[in-house]
Symmetry: C2
Subunit: 382 residues, 2 copies
C-alpha cells in the first residue's frame, strides 16, 4: 500500500511512518515542521534530541535500504497539498497533521483560533483533495477519546442507538469535548462524516487515547531515529510526563483529585492500530469510528504505578496534587468500548512493569536535558 | 436593554434591529456589509431595492427619533470587535453575522473554507470578547434547525436524555448537518457550549427554521426601510422563493420528491423570538437551546399552498420537481419540539392565506427586478 503520513515528523507520526515502511508499505511523509517551531516559540523542547527530518530519513534509508519520500509544506496550502498527492498517489492518507495539545489551544484567543483554523481547514483541504484527485483513497484520521468527554453512560465507538418516545435511530455519539483543541477534532469528525455521505469518501476516525512510551522497534534502531518525548506543561501528557518527573526527582503533577479516568495505549499499539486501519479500508461512503486505546486508568492510578516502578529502581517518587488548571470532572463514570480494533486483530501491549521500567530508564538517560521551569502547567482553562 | 445586532444589515438582522429599537431597546448594528459584496460577486440581487445601511438608519431616525449606532467592520478582526464592544457596552449580543447559505458553502472548496473559517472564527472572537470585556453579556446566537438533520426520532431542544445499558444522562442532541454551512453552525454550538461551561458565559442558541415573509411593522414604514428578499438559487429559501417564482410565472422549483419536512416561521416571529431571548437571559454558565420555528411543512406542501394562493389572485402557478441538487432524504420522519419559546410567551403568526396573498402581491410589485437566469439552483452537493 502507498501510505502518506501527514504529520510524519511528530511523535505518533514518526513512529507510524517507520513502522509502515518496515512492514513493506510505500510510505511518504508530509509535514510542515511547525511542531518544532512551536517548541521554539514556547521555549520548550523534547526530552530526546531529535534529528532533523532529512537526517532521520537518510539514516532510515542507510539502515534498511527503504526510502520514505518527504513533502515539506502546509496542508492549509491547497496547491501544495494537491501537488504532493498528484506526485505520491497514496492509497491511504494517515492524518496526524494537526495542532494536538489541549493546553496550547487554551493559551489565549490567538492559539484557540490557530488551533481551530489550522485543524479544521487543513482537514477540509484533505477532504476536497481526496474528492478531486483520489476519490478511492482511504482517509485514516486521528481523532481523540477526548471528543466524548465524560458522559454518565457507556461510550460507544462513534455511534449510539437511541430509543426515544417509541422510535429508534442510530446517531453520531454526542460529543462533550473539553478544550478548543478537542473541539477542533469534533468539528473535523462532523466534516468528515458529511464528506463520506455526500461524496462517497471512505474514512476511519481513530479516537485515540493518551499514548505512552517512546521506543518502537524502528525508532530504537539508531540514535538518529529517536522519537520525540514531551514533558513540558503544554505538550507533555500523563504517564510519559510522570516518568520524566520521576526520573529527575520532581513530584508527579496530578491535576486535582486524580480521579479523571482516561483510555491509554502504548505507542507500539498506536502504530499497529494505524496499520490495521490502513489494511482494512472503510467502504466507499463509510465513516467508520474506532476507539483506539487498550486500557482505562485514572490519573491517580498512573501516578501510583510510576511511584512503585520508580521505587523498584531506587527512585524516590512523590505525588503532588496540584490545582487543576483544566475544567473537568475529577470523579466520574467512564466506560468506553474498544472492541473494533481488537476484532480486526490488535493484540495489545498492556501497561507493564517492564514498560515503566524501560521508560524510567530512558528518561533518566536524557534527564540532563530537562528544563525544570517547563514542568508545571501554566495554561489555565478559566 | 442595550442590544448589539451583529449582521444587522441582513434579512433577519435588519428586521430585528428595527423591531428592538421600536420596542425601546438601545440598539446598535455591527456589520461588515459583506453580504452585499457576495451578491455582487455572484451577480445576484435582492428582489427589493435595499438602501445603503447609512440611509436606512438616517431614515429610521427621521421617522421615529430613535438612533441606531453603526459599527462597520468584520468580527474576524478582533481589535475592531473589541473596540466596538468597549464603545457600545451591550447587555446582549444578537449574532446573525455569519455566512448563512448552504448552497454558497457548497460552491467549491474556497467557499466551504470561507464559510467555516468566517463563521467559526468570528464566533470564537465573540466568545473571547465577551469573556474579556463583558462577562455578563448574554450571547443570543442564531443556529439552525438544519443542525439536527432528519433523525428517525423526535428532535428535542438541544439536549436529549439517553438511557443506555442501564444508565442515564442528558447529552447534547446528536447533530447530522447537511452542508458545510450547517456544519459551521454545529461547530459554533459546540464552541459556545464549551465557553459557557468553562468561563461561565451565558448563551442562547436559537435553532431557527426557514424564515418567510418580508414585511414587519418597522420595515414596512417606509420604502427606504425595505428589507431584502432573496429569490436566487444561492440565497433564496423555500416559500419566499416560491412566491417570487409564482409572481413572475416561473414554475416552482421543488427539489426531488418534495417530502423534505422543515420547521418554518414568519419573520414577524423571528424578531419576537429574539426579543424574548434577550428579555429572558440565560443564567451565567448556561448554554440554552431553543428551536425557533412555529410550524412544520413539507416542501411539496408549501408549493401547493403557493399554487392555491396564486390561483386566488389570478396567477397560474405550475410546480416542477427538479433534480435535487442536495444530498438529503426526500421522505423521512420529522418531529421537532418547539415549546420553549412558546412557554416564554411567543404567540405565533401561523402561515395564512393573507400572508401568502401579501407576499405574492409584494413579489409582483418588484417582479421587474428579477433576473430569470438566477432562479434555478446551479450548485450541486455531489
Amino acid at each position: 500500500m502507498r501510505v502518506l503520513v501527514i504529520g510524519g515528523d511528530g511523535y505518533c507520526g514518526w513512529a507510524t511512518a517507520l513502522y509502515l515502511s518496515n512492514r513493506g508499505h510505500d510510505v511518504a511523509i508530509l509535514d510542515s515542521l511547525v511542531r518544532r517551531h512551536w517548541d521554539a516559540q514556547l521555549q520548550v523542547n523534547t526530552l530526546t534530541p531529535i534529528a532533523p527530518i532529512q537526517q532521520r530519513l537518510q539514516r532510515w534509508h542507510d539502515l534498511t535500504g527503504k526510502t520514505i519520500d518527504l513533502f515539506i509544506g502546509d496542508i492549509c496550502d491547497y496547491s501544495f497539498l494537491i501537488n504532493s498527492l498528484q506526485q505520491f498517489k497514496p492509497d491511504a492518507i494517515v492524518h496526524f497533521g494537526e495542532q494536538r495539545s489541549a493546553p496550547f489551544s487554551m493559551i489565549d484567543r490567538e492559539h484557540a483560533v490557530l488551533t481551530q483554523s489550522n485543524n479544521v481547514i487543513g482537514n477540509l483541504n484533505i477532504l476536497y483533495a481526496i474528492k478531486e484527485e483520489l476519490p478511492d483513497c482511504h482517509l485514516v484520521k486521528l481523532g481523540t477519546m477526548g471528543e466524548y468527554g465524560t458522559p454518565n453512560i457507556d461510550i460507544e465507538e462513534g455511534y449510539i442507538t437511541i430509543e426515544h418516545n417509541g422510535r429508534k435511530d442510530t446517531l453520531p455519539y454526542p460529543k462533550q469535548p473539553g478544550s478548543f483543541y478537542h473541539l477542533s477534532k469534533v468539528h473535523d469528525s462532523h466534516n468528515i462524516q458529511f464528506a463520506c455521505k455526500v461524496w462517497g469518501l471512505r474514512a476511519t476516525d481513530l479516537n485515540q487515547g493518551i499514548v505512552y512510551g517512546v521506543l518502537t522497534e524502528e525508532t530504537g534502531m539508531d540514535e538518529l531515529l529517536i522519537n520525540r518525548l514531551d514533558y513540558d506543561g503544554v505538550f507533555g501528557t500523563a504517564l510519559n510526563r510522570f516518568c520524566i518527573q520521576a526520573a529527575i526527582g520532581h513530584p508527579l503533577t496530578v491535576y486535582g483529585a486524580g480521579g479523571q479516568t482516561r483510555g491509554l495505549l502504548d505507542i507500539r499499539d498506536t502504530v499497529r492500530c494505524i496499520e490495521i486501519a490502513v489494511n482494512n479500508p472503510a467502504e466507499a461512503g463509510e465513516f467508520r469510528v474506532f476507539n483506539q486505546f487498550t486500557e482505562l486508568f485514572s490519573i491517580a492510578d498512573l501516578a501510583h504505578k510510576v511511584k512503585e516502578a520508580g521505587a523498584a529502581i531506587g527512585l524516590k517518587v512523590e505525588i503532588n496534587s496540584i490545582d487543576n488548571p483544566r475544567v473537568e470532572l475529577e470523579e466520574h463514570y467512564f466506560n468506553a468500548k474498544n472492541t473494533k480494533l481488537i476484532d480486526l486483530g490488535l493484540q495489545p501491549h498492556y501497561l507493564s512493569d517492564s514498560l515503566l521500567d524501560s521508560l524510567l530508564n530512558f528518561a533518566t538517560k536524557y534527564k540532563g536535558r530537562v528544563d525544570a521551569n517547563e514542568i508545571l502547567p501554566k495554561v489555565k482553562w478559566k
